[in-house]
């Protein structure tokens, strides 16, 4: 545990980790909580198909550009080619999926994430995990101290 850093942190008002780094949280329980599973399920239901779709649409474009040059070069409207139309749909796709994701995240994912986090914090407040020395603070887990992780 890098004590010097922590000590210095409080003196200079520096925050090494967030003020709420929750050393008391049982992350395994948090991961299995219905609230968290719900968040993961809902987010995955959007992100997985969206990722598959954009990769398929993009690689469809790239593969056609590589292997079907003549098709891509066919004129649709007065010299404007299939290839350019296909390329422009990629732009529309990026903007559309980006906008859709922002909307989904604001409306659905953020409230679920907040709920999952609150549940984890509440569970930690309600029942202290045995073996975890109380008042012991561990930074975000980025600055070291891996071996002190949940003894169990």
């Amino acid at each position: 545990m890098p004590e010097e850093r922590e000590g210095l942190a409080t003196e200079s008002g520096r925050v090494t980790a967030g003020p709420d780094h929750h050393p008391e949280i049982d992350w395994i329980a948090a991961e299995q909580s219905p609230e968290f599973r719900d968040l993961i399920k809902k987010r995955r239901r959007f992100v997985l198909p969206a990722t598959v779709f954009f990769l398929a649409w993009y690689f469809g474009f790239i593969i056609l550009a590589g292997y079907a040059e003549d098709f891509m070069g066919e004129s649709i409207y007065e010299g404007f080619t299939v290839g350019y139309l296909f390329a422009l749909t990629q732009f529309i796709m990026v903007w559309g999926l980006g906008w859709l994701y922002l909307r989904k995240a604001d409306r659905d994912f953020d409230p679920l994430a907040r709920k999952a986090a609150e549940t984890a914090v509440a569970a930690a407040r309600g029942e202290r995990i045995e073996g975890e020395p109380s008042g012991h603070e561990r930074p975000t887990g980025l600055a070291g101290g891996r071996e002190e992780m949940r003894p169990s």
Binding site: H22, G79, M149
Partner: protein, 546 residues
């Protein structure tokens, strides 16, 4: 040591350069007064808003290679130039869906923070730092050489002097102003670049009577390639190479350290994802307009412009600007050329500053503070080391760029940066966030395999060994210019093999729950502590509102 200054020095361009430099130095001065510590130095106190970060990402990402390079490729080869734009843009969906919010929620300053979170810290951090430093240095050297070549051609300053000039300002921003100054340099650059591109596009559309379809046809009519100009294959002749390029582009961005680092500068995950969408709006609009510039250059300059546009057609856009302003020698022509030159200069400055900052963070935060000093150094020491590292990396890049000279193959270096980013950084980062079983051995193996296979494949590629008698590269059986289709699967394979062949790492698997919950919910995420350029504290104003 004296530097010869070319006779045809462009004074107008130099005065506009001076204005750009004065503004950015003022920003750096303001930022340096707010320098309070590591969070401020690496992450601008996490006080950058979503829209601001969107502009900064755009400024960080759209290099001179995008601006002049892609316009040039489109000017020369038509469709295939546009293929790059599409890949560069779609790549941001990978970032948005898979990484941006998770990085913000679980990281602190560097990629390594996330990658080593649940691993045996020192080896995992070392591997991540290797990935970051390789990408940043290849990209940095490419940009510096590009800067030298462009400024020499546009302003008439000698190559070496131009590199030193660019490198010095880059270092001033980073060393004194840290991330806050870098961010604002990137925002200013994005605004300048977008404005210049919009104005030029309007001029081009005016030339063709405001009908974009006419632009296509006029460009085609001026190309000796005819119909082939509007379809794939002129630049990217090998289909498999095209697909390989596509893989590298769409996954490479998600492994670029200077882009991922930007997500640590915003207050929360909401601002992180908002910033990606702002960035794709700007970058997408920019690439659509780049097409207009490339075609415009073809329609206006014709085949006669090919020689003047130089290697890769890099000077097509500036020449177009000169022509649209009234032609060479006229006041309008000179002014337009000077403005484009200054915009290109600002563009390079913003990108190299971001690169140096990400490399210096890897050196100080990862290598020095966590690996060498086991996190026992003071914050003061870490920031000092970051500044020294920035100076060192910058100086080395300047020296290599000058020694390599304008003959150094820029596209090879950029290709290498994207290949390593896609094959080493991206697989390890994604798996550490999503695969419970993934462990230290897997991460280290994956990064090493991804990095070295990319480097090896690029070295033996025909880009580096242009065969005199054969179509292929140094080895007849291997003729891919873009290694992605091989090196990305190799990177993932390295991660997987390293993991399954080594014993189970209980800590890595146990702390997966922690990283997983943190990255998905933002629980316990780093909070903003800094102040913005105007002195506004982080998190007070509706920072993440769109």
């Amino acid at each position: 040591m004296t530097f010869p200054i070319a006779a045809d020095l462009n004074e107008t361009a130099l005065s506009i350069f001076a204005i750009v430099v004065a503004i950015t130095l003022a920003v750096t001065y303001l930022a340096s007064k707010r320098m309070t510590g590591a969070v401020q130095f690496y992450a601008a106190g996490r006080a950058i808003t979503g829209p601001q970060n969107g502009f900064a990402i755009a400024g960080d990402y759209m290099s001179a290679a995008s601006f002049l390079g892609i316009a040039g490729l489109i000017f020369l080869f038509g469709f295939d130039g546009f293929l790059y734009s599409v890949g560069f843009l779609v790549a941001f969906l990978t970032v948005l869906f898979l990484l941006s919010e998770r990085m913000r929620n679980s990281g602190k300053f560097t990629i390594a923070d996330v990658l080593s979170f649940r691993m045996n810290e020192r080896p995992a951090r070392a591997a991540a730092a290797l990935g970051t430093l390789s990408v940043a240095s290849f990209y940095l050297i490419a940009q510096m050489v590009g800067a030298g070549v462009l400024i020499e051609a546009l302003v008439g300053i000698d190559f070496s002097l131009a590199v030193i000039f660019t490198g010095s300002f880059m270092l001033i921003y980073v060393v004194f102003g840290g991330m806050l100054a870098t961010t604002w340099v990137q925002i200013i650059k994005a605004i300048l670049l977008m404005t210049a591109t919009i104005v030029l596009t309007l001029f081009v559309l005016n030339e063709v009577g405001w009908n974009p379809v006419d632009l296509f046809n006029e460009a085609k009519a001026k190309s000796p390639e005819g119909d082939a100009y509007l379809k794939p294959g002129l630049f990217l002749a090998s289909p498999i190479d095209t697909v390989s390029l596509g893989i590298g582009l769409v996954l490479g961005t998600a492994g670029l350290p200077h882009i991922l680092m930007r997500f640590f500068t915003v207050p929360d995950a909401k601002a992180a994802r908002t910033s990606v969408v702002w960035a794709v709006v700007l970058i997408g609009a920019f690439y659509v307009m780049t097409t207009a510039l490339g075609f415009g250059a073809r329609a206006v300059l014709g085949e006669g412009g090919v020689e003047a546009a130089g290697t890769g057609g890099n000077l097509a856009a500036p020449l177009l600007a000169e022509e649209l302003g009234g032609g060479a020698g006229t006041f309008g022509g000179d002014l337009f050329l000077a403005v484009i030159a200054a915009v290109a200069f600002a563009t390079i400055l913003a990108v190299v500053a971001g690169l140096v900052l990400s490399a210096s963070a890897a050196m100080s935060h990862d290598v020095w503070s966590n690996i060498v000093r086991h996190g026992k150094d003071s914050e003061h020491e870490e920031v000092l080391v970051a500044r020294i590292a920035a100076l060192t990396i910058g100086a080395v890049a300047i020296v290599i760029a000058i020694l390599g000279g304008s003959g150094l193959n820029v596209s090879f270096m950029v290709g290498l940066a994207f290949a390593v980013a896609a094959s080493a950084n991206f697989p390890a980062l994604l798996l550490s966030l999503t695969w419970r079983r993934f462990n230290t051995t897997g991460a280290v193996t994956g990064v090493l395999v991804g990095t070295f296979s990319s480097i090896l494949l690029v070295i033996i590629s025909p880009t580096v060994w242009p065969g005199n008698d054969s179509e292929g590269g140094a080895f007849g059986f291997y003729d891919l210019a873009n290694p992605g289709i091989i090196s990305v699967p190799l990177g993932f394979l390295g991660c997987w093999l390293g993991t399954v062949l080594s014993g189970k790492e209980r800590i890595a698997e146990r702390s997966f729950d922690e990283l997983y919950v943190r990255s998905e919910t933002g629980l316990g995420a780093e909070v903003g502590t800094g102040v913005g350029l105007t002195g506004r504290p982080a998190g007070k104003a509706p920072a993440s509102a769109m």
